[in-house]
Amino acid sequence: MSGDPCDRCEELIQDFLDRTLTDVEWREAEVHLSGCDYCARRYKFEESLRRYVRTSAAERMPPGLMDKLSELRGLDATA
């Protein structure tokens, strides 16, 4: 891949976090991240952000909904 290695790293970083890179790409990203502070910091940031989005967006089921769902048990297929 030609061009700036940091641009390339930026391209790979989401899939790196998703663990969906090929072995070759994984190695490429890992080598770059171990030698580049700029990208390593951004990697750390992206990782924290993912975690924070997940917890911030999680909302517990409202009380009472579970009972309503339980009452739906036994619904007739033809109803």
Binding site: I13, L49, A57, L69, L72
Partner: protein, 206 residues
């Protein structure tokens, strides 16, 4: 799971006696009860995803109830041993799409194609490069701003982001749930995450 008993016993050839029929009914009732129990155990996780797919808590509650009503009616179409959570979410997203996503705050504009580092760069210029390495830096973004940013990205992108980043589904499961190819999930996910970061940058950092 065994083959349906009507096939095993060949009802047309020899009519089952009342005892066989009673056993069949009892066995089906057990399978059904087990399905219902397993589905209900996932309700919290199903709700969590539903809540972020639609605009309001009330809509999410309605959608989850409709989902369970449909799931309980058509429980026989679930293949035991496969991913029940994904199956429930597929029922749910179909219902959501059928509703035409009527009441949602849906901007018609496409998000600008910012780069993946967009938000990190903004944070770095506001708080310094070193700030990126601290866990606290993301907490500068309020939970409300994250919820709002998620609600504001285009629905197709949001579906992918919510399923993968909040529901923890694999690309493959998300593709099945949304009934699109895996490559489509990946591109929507990437664009959705960029759009999310762009909204966050605008909202939280100005």
């Amino acid at each position: 799971m065994q083959a349906p008993s009507s096939q095993r016993y060949g009802r047309r050839v020899s009519e089952p006696g009342p005892e066989t029929e009673a056993r069949r009914i009892a066995s089906e009732a057990r399978d059904r009860a087990r399905f219902e129990e397993e589905a209900l155990a996932l309700a919290d996780q199903v709700y969590r995803v539903a809540r972020r797919l639609v605009g309001t808590r009330e809509e999410a509650e309605d959608l989850v109830q409709e989902t369970y009503a449909r799931a309980f009616r058509s429980w026989k179409s679930f293949t035991p041993g496969t991913n029940l959570r994904a199956w429930l979410l597929r029922v749910l997203t179909n219902l959501n799409i059928d509703r035409g996503r009527k009441i949602q705050r849906t901007p018609q504009t496409q998000p600008l194609e910012e780069t993946d580092y967009y938000l990190a760069n903004k944070v770095a210029s506001a708080a310094g490069e070193d700030a990126l390495e601290t866990d606290e830096v993301v907490e500068r973004l309020s939970q409300d701003s994250i919820v709002k940013a998620l609600a504001d990205i285009p629905p197709q992108y949001r579906d992918a982001v919510v399923l993968v980043d909040i529901g923890d589904f694999t690309y493959a499961d998300a593709a099945q749930i949304l009934d699109v190819p895996i490559g489509t999930v990946m591109s929507r996910l990437h664009r959705g995450r960029r759009a999310l970061k762009q909204h966050l940058a605008e909202e939280a950092l100005g």
